[in-house]
């Protein structure tokens, strides 16, 4: 909306000011509830969280300021760094497999069938709570009597202690979540694929391009904005995994699945150490803010290209 340059007459200015005040009033009315929610439940807790991170707070008694003690403890805490490493390992495996598989599935659906039934089936795991998915897979992959291990034994591969082995636990949890989110991610990419005009594929086919070449030369470049969006959103979500760990391994064995979220929960509600847990949340926030800034930078770049 442009603003006129020449100063309007007094009467006109008055009416515009009246219009603006009415607009402002309406706007404030419209925004008020959301703003209230934001300030009380996002802004205020964030500030309080930072405050708690400088205190020793065991929830039962009032908080006591202790300066930077929690942060010093954080840097020296081997379990914290392990938690970061575990979380990163989880994110890499989860996002890596999820994106590749989802891309494959999306392309498959795009070229094979538009059936609602297929799409529905693929989406079904996403509708189930993380907790449910975790429990079902915990049962399927049970070492002694889970059908998954029975199958492996039948194949001759031998049983694997999926949730009990330090090296297998986090990849197992990562893959369980891949199972859950695959459908959703695939459908997102599928929607993106549908915006690519069919004529391009037909043109490429006439030229004798193979499916593979069509994928790399036509699909990928045009899909990149959507792919970027999907990746970043998935990564942020992936960093915050909690449900699956809480229900299956509770951070074990030997801290092999103690992801950051779970460590914070454990500190706050098992060890009554809210102050330290808050300091760790601040650390996680900083980490995620960095990743999110990356997201903003990328989506802004995409916006200018698309529009």
């Amino acid at each position: 909306m442009t603003h006129t340059v020449a100063p309007p007459s007094v009467a006109a200015r008055g009416s515009r000011r009246f219009a603006m005040r009415r607009e402002t009033r309406a706007a404030l009315l419209f925004v008020a509830p959301a703003a209230l929610g934001f300030s009380v439940f996002t802004l205020l807790p964030a500030i309080r969280g930072v405050y708690y991170s400088f205190t020793d707070f065991d929830v039962f008694q009032p908080a006591k300021l202790i300066g930077t003690g929690n942060y010093e403890r954080l840097f020296a805490d081997a379990v914290f760094w392990n938690a970061l490493k575990v979380t990163l390992e989880y994110v890499v495996i989860n996002i890596g497999f999820q994106t590749v598989f989802a891309l494959g599935v999306a392309v498959l659906m795009h070229r094979l069938t538009q059936s609602m039934l297929v799409r529905g089936i693929i989406l079904a795991p996403y509708l189930i709570a993380n907790v449910v998915v975790a429990l079902v897979w915990f049962w399927i992959l049970d070492y002694q009597i889970g059908i998954g291990n029975e199958f492996l034994a039948w194949l001759g591969v031998g049983r694997q202690p999926f949730f009990g082995d330090q090296n297998l636990a986090i990849p197992t949890i990562a893959m369980v979540n891949v199972w859950r989110h695959l459908g959703y991610t695939a459908l997102l990419l599928f929607a993106g694929l549908q915006t690519i005009p069919k004529e391009l594929y037909e043109a490429a086919a006439i030229d004798g391009a193979s499916e593979w070449k069509m994928f790399w030369r036509v699909t990928m470049p045009l899909l990149r904005p959507v792919l970027a969006l999907v990746l970043i959103v998935s990564i942020i979500g992936s960093f915050q995994t909690f449900d699956t760990v809480a229900v299956t391994t509770q951070g074990g064995p030997v801290n092999a699945t103690r992801v950051i979220y779970y460590y914070i929960y454990d500190l706050a509600f098992n060890r009554y150490d809210f102050g330290y847990a808050s300091a760790m949340s601040v650390a996680l926030f900083v980490l995620l803010a960095g990743v999110s800034l990356l997201q903003l930078r990328m989506t802004r770049a995409n916006q200018s290209d698309l529009s």
């Binding site: 992959l141 049970d142 070492y143 002694q144 202690p161 082995d165 064995p253 030997v254 509600f269 009554y272």
Partner: protein, 456 residues
């Protein structure tokens, strides 16, 4: 059409508001309600063992008969959830009035002022400490000299063995009841375990050609790494090797996890897993629990606590024999000796009624009732016969659990401050050892961390 949209929105919004209001009014804190004493009072009682719930239900029913104005509602949360839910409950004021507590946990609770002392119950004569088994009542006196609970039960450790497998292996009852172990070669105990272990090809653990990577039946099962306590896993061996958790108990501040006696005990325990006679932690903790694995025929023997007896005897298709723990180098058949009690939440709205409940729960009347369930041994000495009869009626011979008591080789469960911190240090350390990914020598470093908690 636009009118309809607006109307639906308004309807939706008002439905939401109505639901909200309904929700607000329908829910309550879950804690105690009621007016002044004399009016009906509702107490909330929490426990974790669902096996014991029917017995306690009978108990509180009897309590309500004697005290018609006090209603008691029992809620059960599983062990994994129990303490976090309790914390939230204590923090929110919506927690229990009375709850079953554990020796490991109550120090933290009373130092944070979350539970009420009950000395006045004893002083008023409502509770008589002389009826309890020796040593149990004083475990619940804090370092501040105040008493926080009355003993409910006690437990010891013994061995559950699959009789069919014993017969197959030709192990006689006499052999079973006279096993001895030592940290060097495991003694006759390890011989029995090895003989009971069978691999997928039918080769026993002590025969040539035993394939430890393909075991069908483990001679000894594993529940968990045991953490700092090892109550059912390894404490009995360590005690009989002349070791205890800390310099004093209760309220020890200098721990002994780095001592050679302990390290060699754990080294031997780990060796069982390395040899394939016992599952590694990965295998043992990858799904079903020890009882189910035993019931499925994967374990020949397990070391277990007396509170689990009923669970094992309820398994279909398995006949279980109970044997005492093996004799150790110091000549003792040792066992950890533990007991539970009820604590009162400090934020209860009805302290007087809560104390009445606690007094009743700790009385002979109630312990007679719970003893008759045949699940745990009562702390009240004169109730023991009832419990033994209850077990006998189910065809269970619990003599093996009495052995450490009769021989005077019981060791009290460790009671100390900072137990959750100690657990956070020792559990990963023990987990690593029992997963065969760390040496028992790592316990020395872990012990230093533990002692550092106390400023040592």
């Amino acid at each position: 059409m636009m009118w309809k949209r607006r109307r639906t929105l308004v309807v939706a919004a008002s439905t939401a508001a109505a639901l909200l209001l309904a929700g607000c009014s329908a829910s309550d804190g879950g804690g105690a309600e009621g007016g002044a004493s004399g009016d009906a009072v509702q107490l909330s009682y929490w426990l974790w063992d669902s096996n014991q719930q029917p017995g306690y239900q009978q108990c509180v029913d009897a309590f309500t008969v004697e005290n018609p104005n006090i209603q008691v509602e029992i809620t059960q949360y599983g062990w994994d959830d129990y303490w976090t839910t309790l914390t939230t409950g204590l923090v929110s004021g919506g927690g229990p009035d009375v709850f079953i507590s554990h020796l490991n946990r109550y120090p933290e609770l009373y130092t944070k002022g979350q539970i009420l002392p009950i000395d006045d119950i004893v002083e008023s004569g409502a509770a008589d400490l002389s009826i309890y088994r020796e040593g149990l009542a004083d475990l619940w006196v804090g370092q501040d000299g105040k008493r926080y609970g009355l003993p409910k039960d006690f437990d010891t450790i013994a061995i559950f063995a699959d009789q069919a497998m014993l017969d197959d292996a030709g192990i006689t009852a006499e052999q079973l009841n006279s096993m001895a172990w030592n940290p060097d070669d495991g003694g006759t105990y390890e011989e029995v375990i090895a003989h009971l272990t069978v691999d997928a090809n039918g080769v026993r653990g002590d025969e040539a050609g035993f394939d430890k990577s393909n075991v069908a039946v483990y001679g000894l099962g594993l529940n968990s790494s045991g953490g700092p306590s090892g109550q059912t896993e390894w404490a009995q061996y360590a005690f009989s090797n002349g070791w205890q958790h800390s310099d004093t108990n209760p309220w020890g501040e200098s721990f002994n996890f780095g001592d050679p006696e302990f390290v060699e005990t754990i080294a031997w325990f780990q060796s069982l897993a390395a040899k394939g006679y016992m599952p590694t932690l990965q295998i043992a903790s990858s799904g079903i629990g020890q009882a189910d694995a035993y019931g499925a025929g994967k374990y020949a023997m397990v070391t277990e606590g007396s509170w689990n007896t009923k669970t094992y005897f309820a398994l279909d298709g398995v006949t279980t024999t109970i044997a005492p723990v093996p004799e150790g180098p110091n000549g003792q058949r040792a066992s950890m000796f533990n007991g539970l009690a009820d604590n009162i939440a400090a934020n209860t709205k009805h302290p007087e009624e809560a104390k009445k409940l606690v007094a009743f729960l700790g009385s002979k009347t109630c312990e007679d009732i719970t003893a008759a369930q045949g699940i745990a041994f009562p702390a009240v000495v004169s109730s023991l016969d009832i419990s033994l009869k209850a077990f006998a009626d189910q065809g269970i011979d619990t003599a093996a659990f009495q052995v450490p008591i009769d021989e005077g080789s019981t060791y009290l469960a460790p009671v100390a401050n900072n137990w959750t911190e100690i657990t956070a240090i020792m559990t990963p350390a023990m987990d690593a050892i029992m997963s065969l990914t760390a040496d028992p020598e790592s316990l020395v470093a872990a012990n230093e961390q533990v002692n550092a908690l106390f400023g040592n």
